[in-house]
Amino acid sequence: MMHVRLSAVSLRFRHVWFRNFTTYRRIWKVNFFVPLFEPAFYIMAFGLGFSGLIGGVDYGGMRLEYTQFMAPALVATACMWNSFFETTYASFVRMYYQKTFDGILATPLSLEEVIIAEIVWAASKASAAVAIMLAVLVSIGYANFPEALMCIPLAFLAGLAFASIGMFFTGIIPTIDMFNLPIFLFITPMFLFSGTFFPVSSIPDWAGIFSLLFPLFHLVELTRLFCIGTMESSITFNLTYLVACILVFGYLALRVMKRRIIK
């Protein structure tokens, strides 16, 4: 029983997803402003402040304005922040302070199902944020329609990967303020070096290899393909990497959470 049991996984996890959704529904009207305005702020700041310094960016065989290059990356990073924060801070609060998981474990649900529900919920929240953001970017001409709609299922997939990584940290972190560590040592460098603000092809190869390890890089590449129709890597490779992240970190997350909660 201490091991991860596939036999304990069923569609019942949807009830926990629904619990999170019900709780979130009370605050979504406020939260939904964040993805609505965030891209506008970035595009204004970089468009007004940066474009004077940088003429344009050569990427995937195209000559792009800097804001055009950067806008799809905003979608990708929003997906990352939303899903990672949900399974770290928010899940930690539910697990540790609200004892929500303990309560659910007295019902016909397994811990495996609870954790899967948390991860799927985080990914759903991330795709919702991405959908709102895309509406803004499409309407101001920064993303192609309807191809950019593909970013929504993509955000769900990548959301699963980031949420699994987040849940893994939640399983091993002693106290809530220690989330600073993975955020500053892992998420922030990933945010900066995943081809978000400059093409990976423009930095030395040895540095570019590190970028390839970041799941965000793969998401940024795919997002650019769907938003502006070009990319510098291969769809199959990017998708395979993201799926591998889900499988590896999903399994690790289940293991460490099981060790943490089941006594």
Partner: protein, 303 residues
């Protein structure tokens, strides 16, 4: 058929043995108490009943099913009121019940009806729209009990249900539990309030260091391990101590206090003690579970 049948149940955490080979059975309709000092293994034992904690060794059958393999079926038929508040603080009282019913795949209409009945039963009807965050300790505990009963529960597990409640709330909880007992619900209670166990339980086991050190009906345990009648004498004289020894009375000498236990209400003995030794202050009372508990588990602090 017994509702619960535990045989040689063991729970180990690394090299610490929390539950050390205990066996017990609980009949249908019984109110069963598990008592013991802090760290005696009560919560560990209870968590094995509903499959929260895996069993290290031994057997646990609930409703005739094995907890290792049929945990999902077992959990769908029982309710647990955990020691800590596990309610959803952001949701309203009734939302808490509705969402909980979903975990049991109960249909929506039935869940709403059942929630309405339970809110009435626990006198929470006028609070149904209130946020859980705003509830007092007593109300939150009643809601947690209501939630544990949402799934047409056949067995209710209560892990220290009245800890931290004021006397009014405590009595209200007891009153509701009595009512449930009348309806034939099987219940398991852990507590370290001896008066609670004495009032509520049909049968109890006392755990210490993970083992069962006594079991039986509360009245039987009182007769066996303490006495029906108890006399407490403060600041006992040497003369009294000699008298007690000479008569061969069952007693505890605590230095500043001597406690004499008598099989029945012994008027002769009471008269003698009252006339000869009660210079300062004496207390004549009935024996209770607290006497049993302290005699069996000792008076030293545990933590």
């Amino acid at each position: 058929m017994n509702i619960i049948e535990a045989r040689n149940l063991v729970k180990k955490f690394d090299d610490f043995t929390a539950v050390d080979s205990i066996s017990f059975g609980v009949d249908r309709g019984q109110f069963f108490g598990i008592l013991g000092p802090n760290g005696a293994g009560k919560t560990s034992a209870v968590r094995m009943i509903y499959g929260f904690s895996p069993i290290t060794s031994g057997n646990m059958e609930v409703f005739g099913l094995d907890i290792n393999t049929d945990w999902r079926t077992i959990r769908s038929r029982l309710g647990v009121c955990q020691q800590e508040n596990t309610l959803d603080p952001d949701l309203t009282v009734e939302q808490n019940l509705w969402l909980y019913a979903r975990y049991f795949e109960m249909d929506k209409k039935k869940a709403r009806e059942r929630a309405g009945d339970l809110l009435l039963f626990f006198a929470l009807k006028n609070k149904r729209q209130a946020k859980v965050m705003e509830l007092s300790g007593g109300l939150a505990r009643r809601l947690q009990l209501a939630r544990a009963l949402m799934a047409e529960t056949e067995l209710l597990i209560l892990d220290e249900p009245t800890t931290g409640l004021d006397p009014q709330s405590r009595h209200q909880v007891w009153d509701r539990l009595f009512e449930l007992k009348k309806r034939g619900l099987t219940m398991i209670l852990t507590t370290h309030y001896m008066d609670e166990a004495e009032v509520l339980c049909d049968r109890i086991i006392i755990l210490d260091h993970g083992r069962i050190i006594a079991e039986g009906r509360p009245a039987g345990l009182i007769e066996k391990h303490a006495g029906k009648s108890v006399i407490e004498i403060k600041v006992p004289s040497e003369e009294l101590k000699a008298f007690v020894r000479e008569k061969g009375l069952k007693h505890d000498d605590l230095g500043e206090l001597i406690i004499i236990y008598a099989e029945k209400h012994d008027h002769e003995l009471e008269k003698v003690v009252r006339e000869r030794f009660c210079m300062d202050s004496c207390l004549f009372r009935s024996g209770n579970l607290e006497d049993v508990f302290l005699r069996l588990t000792g008076r030293e602090l545990r933590e």
